[in-house]
């Protein structure tokens, strides 16, 4: 029912990690602990939101991607790019120039993730109409949110919209297109350019789907660097703009905040930022909010424009994309390519639904209620002794997290620096308490070092 482990795109490089605990404090699901002077990730709790990546001062947290050279194993090398990629560059770099640059670095064809949005919108409206008993419907767009709901709001999994997100729909469409042209699957490599870690995790271990149709994932910062290099070399130009973005105004802004909510029927709300989302889901869970039809929830502030692998400032990206969408709407009045919609319908027959999303609660203390109750009583007793200031010196993000770790057999009360002081009054020898600190923070944490990597941060 509930899997034990998940693929995570976020990895900690222990050779670079200095155990500074910035990540531990930033993690919204308390998935990180420090011991042995290094951060450790609790795999079942991590939702790949990437908040740790943002705050790491040494670059020890990495987003695992596929080797770029892998694209050359395929005759047809498709770059599947998110709309936010085109919003990373300076204003005067047109989408056409980025397309040329992508070809220069080795891709043979370029598709945009949001290509399927015009096909998806009526499906979502239809879905909401048919699932009145599951309101509010939570969008399946952001994979970090889907995972957040699974681990922290397990009762709301039934609210998750069981429609595949644009990324998956578009990749099915691309597969369908190549198949139609008579190419074997092995000849076509689809490489997704990702703005975040959650999308990678979603591709490597999909929720509500067996296998992804995407061949590999390349990080957006790498693609940005390589393409910008081409653009700066001036080997691409505005004039030979033969390829261009195929997106409609509403698909350009789909990945931005309010991109979904503003095009769905009924009472829709858009919430971005993982902490904002958690606050709101708590209210939804309590049944305190009535009458909302659809929730667009995004883990990152400013949605995908704020993805952890974005190069540009998120506000500038969002502004640029909105501006382009508006200009396009004025130019063609949001015209939709009808023959493409028909193709989508043809290729995606029976391929639009996600299967059930399972809860995998990490909040319970034990499967067995009696045992869980004993543990909770112990947690409450331990909490009477802990100082309640959440200093994190024990290597856990809060006093409560330490108390729960102790009860699960993953921590000790002597890890608390305050209780060490108390214990030193009687049985604990100061040398031993120093050893405990070294065990958590590493041997060198108390040594003089003027070159501490994060000293001036």
């Amino acid at each position: 029912m509930e899997n034990a482990s998940f693929h995570h795109a976020l990895k900690i490089r222990t050779d670079v990690c200095i155990g500074c605990a910035h990540c531990m404090r930033a993690c919204p699901t308390e998935a990180l602990r420090v011991s042995g002077g290094k951060a450790h990730l609790h795999s079942d709790r991590c939702i790949d939101c990437g908040e740790c990546y943002r705050v790491c001062p040494t670059g020890a947290i990495i987003v695992e991607q596929d080797d770029f050279q892998n694209i050359f194993n395929f005759k047809h090398r498709v770059a599947l790019i998110p709309s936010v990629l085109l919003g990373q560059y300076p204003d005067d770099v047109t989408p056409g120039m980025v397309f040329q640059a992508l070809q220069n670095i080795g891709f043979t064809e370029i598709y945009e993730v949001e290509d399927s949005v015009e096909y998806l919108i009526p499906q979502i409206n239809d879905y909401i109409g048919k699932n009145q008993n599951k309101k509010p419907i939570v969008s399946s767009f952001c994979p970090a949110i889907v995972r957040l709901v699974q681990v922290k709001f397990p009762w709301l999994v039934g609210n998750i919209m069981l429609l595949r997100p644009p990324l998956d729909l578009t990749s099915s469409y691309i597969r369908g297109k190549y198949k139609e042209q008579g190419f074997s699957e092995l000849e076509v490599g689809i490489f997704y350019v990702t703005p975040c870690a959650a999308k990678i995790a979603a591709i490597k271990s999909p929720v509500g789907e067996d296998k992804s149709e995407i061949t590999g994932v390349i990080n957006m910062d790498l693609i940005y660097n390589r393409t910008l290099h081409e653009i700066k070399k001036k080997v691409v130009s505005k004039d030979q703009d033969t390829f261009n973005s195929q997106l409609t105004p509403r698909s350009i802004t789909w990945a931005l905040t309010n991109g979904e909510a503003s095009h769905i029927n009924g009472r829709c709300m858009a919430i971005d930022g993982i902490h904002n989302v958690m606050e709101f889901l708590d209210k939804i869970e309590n049944d305190e909010v009535a009458g909302v039809d659809f929730l667009e929830l995004r883990s990152c502030d400013e949605s995908c424009a704020g993805g952890i692998l974005a190069a540009s400032n998120r506000f500038l990206t969002a502004e640029l994309l909105r501006k382009r969408a508006k200009a396009l709407a004025e130019f063609n009045h949001g015209e939709v390519n009808q023959s493409k919609l028909l193709q989508y319908q043809e290729f995606l027959v029976g391929r639009i639904d996600l299967s059930r999303v399972e809860p995998r609660s990490m909040v319970k203390l034990d499967e067995d209620m009696a045992k869980a109750m004993k543990k909770m009583e112990r947690v409450n007793r331990i909490m009477c002794y802990l100082p309640g200031i959440d200093c994190g010196v024990c290597g856990a993000p809060s006093c409560l997290a330490l108390a729960e770790d102790i009860v699960k057999g993953e921590g000790a009360i002597s890890h608390c620096v305050f209780l060490q002081k108390v214990m030193e009054q009687s049985k604990l020898n100061p040398e031993h308490s120093f050893k405990i600190m070294k065990k958590i923070w590493g041997d060198n944490r108390c040594m003089k070092d003027c070159e501490k990597p994060n000293q001036n941060k």
């Binding site: 009762w155 309590n286 049944d287 609660s361 319970k364 203390l365 209620m369 869980a372 109750m373 909770m376």
Partner: protein, 143 residues
């Protein structure tokens, strides 16, 4: 296990605090979500009742492996006719409270519907006491 929460009359901002806390506890105890939902809904209604009608109140929560008993004890005007108060749609809420979206007269009936056992006692001029019992194991209440 015992927990206690205080509720201040007129404080709608914090009404919901106890139900949020109790929800967190029950989730950690791995109580079935449908059961938690009933408890949280009943408790939230009770909290709002105290905020809407009473001067102040205390919520006592007692949990064991079989059931949860929630006692909501308030100092307030009391209910002159309990049978009338239990009728769906009957409300004495002031216009101000109604404007805030509360006071539709569904509070007490809703609490009762979500409980496996429900008791209400009240003394005019002194206060009201609700006792809500919900079985924590799904099979016990035949769902």
């Amino acid at each position: 296990m015992h927990f206690e929460f205080k509720v201040q009359g007129g404080d709608f901002v914090r009404a919901g605090n106890a139900s949020s806390q109790v929800k967190k506890i029950l989730k950690q105890l791995n109580v079935d979500s449908s059961v938690i939902k009933r408890i949280v809904v009943a408790l939230y209604e009770g909290e709002v009742n105290i905020a809407a009608h009473a001067f102040n109140g205390v919520i006592y929560v007692d949990i064991d492996t079989e059931r949860i008993i929630i006692k909501l004890d308030d100092n307030g005007p009391g209910i002159p006719d309990i049978n009338l108060a239990m009728q769906p749609g009957y409300s004495t809420a002031s216009p101000i409270v109604r404007e805030m979206g509360f006071g539709a007269g569904m509070g007490l009936p809703n609490i009762k519907d979500n409980s496996d056992d429900f008791k209400i006692t009240s003394e005019v001029g002194k206060g009201t006491c609700l006792e809500i019992l919900v079985n924590l194991k799904v099979n016990q209440e035949g769902v």
